[in-house]
Amino acid sequence: MTLFGFLLALNLGGEGDEELVRRLQARDPEALSDLYDRFGKLAWSVILSIVRDAAIAEDLVQETFLRAWNRANGFEASRGALGPWLLTIARNQAIDHVRSQSYRMDRCVYELDATEHPALFLDMESTILNANYARAIRNAITKLNANQRKVIELAYYEGLSQTEMAERMGQPLGTVKTWVRTALKNLRDELGEAAVA
């Protein structure tokens, strides 16, 4: 089972992102509870799928929500997409952990923090966390060829750089870069068609 079932059951009604962000910015402790109730399971699922250890995942989920709490003031309540932002933080926490455990921090010094900048989540479609999108992206992933699917998995779940992927797969760097680029383009094209259909 994937998150699809959960997303179907997710109550997307009620208080909107904007009001929740405002309460986080007002340092309302209840807002953190509500944020967890809305995205806790998603964050847990993402982190667990990357670190594959429940005890570690618990710590990282806690760190994810603390980070969101501490950085909510930088978020533009009326335009920011709260869910995608939180899940990006969650994935980054997990990838940072995986990289540090494998002592790859020195080889892959890319600071994931940069991808958490609230400006990157302005006017983003919040529908990427709804059930239809989940179904579409799962379907799109199945249509990738084996190499494209592999590089997406190595990137998303292990945080391997393209150089590391090339080493792991025994392929030239240029080939791996092409696979990553093509995989993402195919996913986007497939999702675009799904949106039209």
């Binding site: 699922s45 930088g74 002592y103 020195d106 966390l129």
Partner: protein, 226 residues
Amino acid sequence: MNCEEILHEYGAYALGIAEDPERREISEHLARNCPNCVPGVRRAMELVAGLSAAAPAADPPRRLRGRVVALVSPQSGRRFPIAILAPWAVALTLAVALIAVVLPGRLRSGDAAKLAQALSIIGDPAMQDVSFGPPATRGRVFLSPGKGVVLVAAGLPPLDVNKTFELWVIPKTGNPIPAGLFRSQANAAVFVHAGAAPNAAAVAVTIEPEGGSAQPTTTPFIVAKL
């Protein structure tokens, strides 16, 4: 590089797997609010965030909600579990870091990860270290140009609830580079910033509004010249 030369790396950037020089170039384009790169990276971020929907669903343990809520509960005395670690002395940091590497299962995993980063920084042959203070705030900074910064500080000033400490790497030329936010417990902290810090002339700490600032807005109360 111009936008045409880096647009094919937007996806890799969003995935956190891009490498220099493209990574650096995209970061610079984003920093100057490039009208091509900002929307391009944003679309890539949307796709990457959407990939989370494909992760296998799992139910978190019930106690986890309580742990998260307790982070900011007025009744909780433990609000910042990772950012501050504990007021250890340098020797203890090294010792515990070693334990974290040898016996990672004995420590909380997040702490172990931070401590492994600290050990990597402190163990770097290129590491520079410098003491600062007293009389007020005192401590020591360890900086590895390729790996990051470890700050050990005591006698930190009190913080208002809506304020935070912000670490800065001051390059030999150019503006201060933000290197993370932290708070203190018992007026002391060990803070680890993992990330390259090349050409650093100093490390500084300021008090900033919650969420941090892009550039310092107050006078540094710690300046450790390298």
